[in-house]
């Protein structure tokens, strides 16, 4: 900008025709530009230069170490993750934001409440990225009683889920194996005339049904398999596998009698004292199991903030914020497209999809590229939203270059040398995109 203004000043001078005037004009121009120039030098040029110089020194700033800091960028695990993540960000987010913005813009043209809709989509832009991150950090919590998203999944699952009497449990002795999802099976087979004791522990105290009574040791009866399912726990622990006083039966549990082939030959429901009985079992060996219907295993939540899903989770938050921006810009571009062209295409028999693909999108190309390039620059320097969404334990997995720069310089490591090197590296990455942008500006001006 300053260069063109300078040139402008010089041209006016030439218009005057005399050399003396020309020099005076440039002097005046310089005088007017001086404040901006000083600002540029003090706040942009000097810090940039000093950052570059600093990046060749060690963490203390005393020893010249040439390119060692730069080597470290490419050899440290977490910095490599940062670069990799940045590549993913650039590949995914600008395209998605532009596409979603385009879809919103085109669709809102056709609905009655378009202003309301646009306002709603644009709303996230009104809050800071950091605040948006905090919101999503809470929504993404794993525990369904805290995180909105997992709560929603939980609700949907609840519609199809089973309603068991217990939410948790474990076999009280090695005799009873299995899990809440698959049910618990007694290891030793039983035959008619024998008994089965199914002891469970790890049942939350408030889940023991109110009508539960003292469990009773089953008595063997000829031709039947009798048993008990009970909460094998009393204060202090008790003896595992033995029905003791103070230990309550579990009423309402579904008990399965499985034949050797694995099929369920009979089911029974336990009584208030936990007792159950299978009659007319016939000969042969059977396995007794607590069916999985007994348990309504609570949904423990998708680990959005865990190492695997953290980057997508942050991206969703980021897209949520920026989609509105893209929509507004693209909608503005859309309204400047001449209606006649669209109408002409429709009259010629083009379907709506063809109109969109062959007419709207090509005519919007300049606007789309502005949005796309702006998003690339934004995404390259993405930082605060990651800091606010990712918990400490997965920050390494969500790391990007800008975050790595901050963490290295200020986040406790205080290695200004390496931090500067990362800053310079990021700077180099942004330059080509900036150049592209500037060239486009110039073309538009010309």
């Amino acid at each position: 900008m300053s260069a063109s203004a300078l040139r402008g000043g010089a041209e006016t001078g030439r218009g005057g025709g005399r050399r003396h005037d020309r020099r005076r004009a440039s002097l005046v121009a310089l005088l007017f530009l001086a404040p901006a120039l000083i600002f540029l030098v003090v706040w942009i040029v000097y810090p940039t230069g000093w950052t570059i110089v600093r990046s060749f020194f060690d963490r203390g700033g005393d020893e010249f170490i040439a390119f060692d800091n730069y080597k470290e960028i490419f050899t440290t695990d977490t910095l490599q993750t940062a670069i990799k993540n940045n590549v993913i960000w650039v590949a995914v987010v600008p395209a998605l934001v532009t596409a979603i913005g385009l879809v919103f813009a085109v669709l809102t043209e056709r609905i009655a409440w378009s202003t309301a809709f646009k306002t709603a989509v644009f709303m996230p832009m009104a809050i800071s990225l950091f605040a948006a991150g905090v919101i999503w950090r809470i929504m993404d919590e794993k525990d369904p009683s805290r995180g909105t998203i997992n709560a929603a999944i939980n609700e949907v699952k609840g519609v199809f889920g089973s309603d068991g009497v217990l939410s948790a449990g474990q076999g009280s002795s090695p005799q009873l194996t299995g899990s809440v999802e698959q049910g618990f099976v007694l290891r030793n087979p039983v035959t008619a005339g024998e008994t089965a004791s199914l002891g469970l522990t790890a049942i939350p105290p408030d889940e023991v049904p109110a009508d539960a009574r003292q469990a009773v040791e089953p008595r063997a009866v000829e031709g039947e398999i009798a048993g008990v399912v009970w909460r094998d726990f009393k204060p202090g622990g008790g003896r595992p596998g033995v029905v003791e006083t103070e230990e309550l039966g579990i009423p309402g549990a579904t008990i399965e009698l499985r034949d050797p082939g694995g099929g369920v030959s009979q089911t029974a429901t336990s009584g208030a004292d936990g007792s159950f009985v299978f009659r007319d079992v016939g000969s042969g060996q059977f396995r007794v199991a607590i069916g999985s219907q007994t348990f309504a295993a609570p949904f423990t939540g998708v680990s959005w903030l865990g190492p695997k899903l953290i980057t997508p989770a942050v991206m969703i938050a980021y897209i949520w914020v920026w989609a509105g921006f893209a929509m507004v810009i693209i909608a503005a571009g859309l309204s400047s497209i001449s209606r006649e062209v669209l109408e002409a295409a429709r009259t010629d028999g083009a379907t709506e999809w063809q109109v969109f693909r062959r007419v709207t999108v090509p005519m919007l190309a300049p606007v789309l590229s502005v949005v796309f390039i702006t998003m690339i620059i934004n995404v390259l320097k993405v930082f605060d939203i990651i800091l606010s969404v990712a918990p400490q334990s997965s920050q390494d997995d969500a790391n990007v270059i800008a975050l790595a720069m901050w963490r290295t310089s200020f986040g406790g490591v205080n290695d200004f040398g390496l931090g500067s090197a990362i800053a310079v590296f990021l700077f180099l990455l942004v330059i080509p995109v900036l150049a592209l942008n500037i060239r486009r500006f110039k073309r538009e001006e010309a």
Binding site: P47, R54, T78, E207, P391, Q395, G412
Partner: protein, 448 residues
Amino acid sequence: MRRHRIATAAALLALAPAALAAGCGSDDDDGGSTSTSAGGATGAATTATDVSGSVSVIGIWTGDEQRSFQAVIDKFNETYPDIDVRYTSAGDNLPTVVGTAVEGGNPPDIATIAQPGLIREFQRQGALRSIDYARDTVSANYAPDFVDLGTIDGRLFSFVYKGANKSTVWFNVEAFRNAGVEDPDDWDEFLTNARTLGASGVPAYSIAGADGWTLTDLFENIYLRQAGPEKYDQLSEHRIPWTDPSVRAALRSMAQVFSDRENILGGTSGALQTEFPASVEAVFQNPARAAQVIEGDFVPGVVAETTRLRAGEGYDVYGFPEIGDSDDYVVGGGDSIATFRDTPAVRAFVEFLASTEGASTWAERGGFSSPNRTVGEDVYPDEITADIATAIAEARTFRFDMSDLAPAAFGGTPSQGEWKILQDFLANPSDINGTAEKLEAAAARAYR
């Protein structure tokens, strides 16, 4: 010099407004303290009560703690009405704020620093002033372990003003009653208790795995008890590697807790996303979602904020269980006072903070454990606080939190170094050798 200032300016731009505020604060105070040192004869003036001037303090205390510290300042002003003590809170950003201020050549007069490693770094840079003038007061009021802690190359540079006892386990009284267990006497009983608690239907452990420091605290408690104070000191200074058998042994004990996945609230993946306040809240909810949380004496603060449980009835505490012959061992932390300027006003304030009165003023307001032995037990507002504070002041062996002694890159940085590696260990507790090797590699980088 000039280039530093510009670098600082650039750095400040990148920082949170807190940093800017702090930077401005110390700028203002600069003039004040210079005028004092010009005014009075150094040394002799410290005993006189007519010292005037100003002292700028940057600390980590916010909220209630900030109000309590202000009360301490007010008490100080009763004796020294002409000294203007201005406190600025930097919160958890303190290392960054003070570090940048020092790099820019414009530090505060006094900083309260929780990491002795950082104090040592500042001392190496030549930024600190010795407080040998307060040595007599400190030696008289503090146990030798504490005097050693503040001494670098034979000179006293800092002392712990606000102590923290990290050898405590907080439990939900009702959950313990339901399960029929009591305070364990040793590590084996602790593990047996955990199994019983799990069988009673309440996970035994609530672990704040999202905050790496809770994991380093657990490691240090186990290590100090298993390996003993000498090894502890050697490991703190990285004179023995983290691949030492003693480290592996401690990791194995830690794995006894971590591999009991069913017994950890939310499993390990849930624990890794749980931050400290949430981990405390889970234990002291009704009904309890977990039975106990292994953390320091700052737990009651969170309990008071989030629940209505009362000390002794709803929640209670026991000392970290002994392993072998480790009676009365305390791993702790604390906020130390370190000075960057030496003026009569600073001297007066430092002397005051090291005195009985300086510690009691805050102690009686609660939320404060003083390592100062001269603070009476009856000063504390309740029995639990008094017990914990006395445990620090009278500990047979007191060791400072090892991760705070280490360079910040290893022991004090979120998702890096020891914090991150122990988080990975929580996720995969079978990898003892790999964890020890990763710790050693990270330590080697940070200690060089």
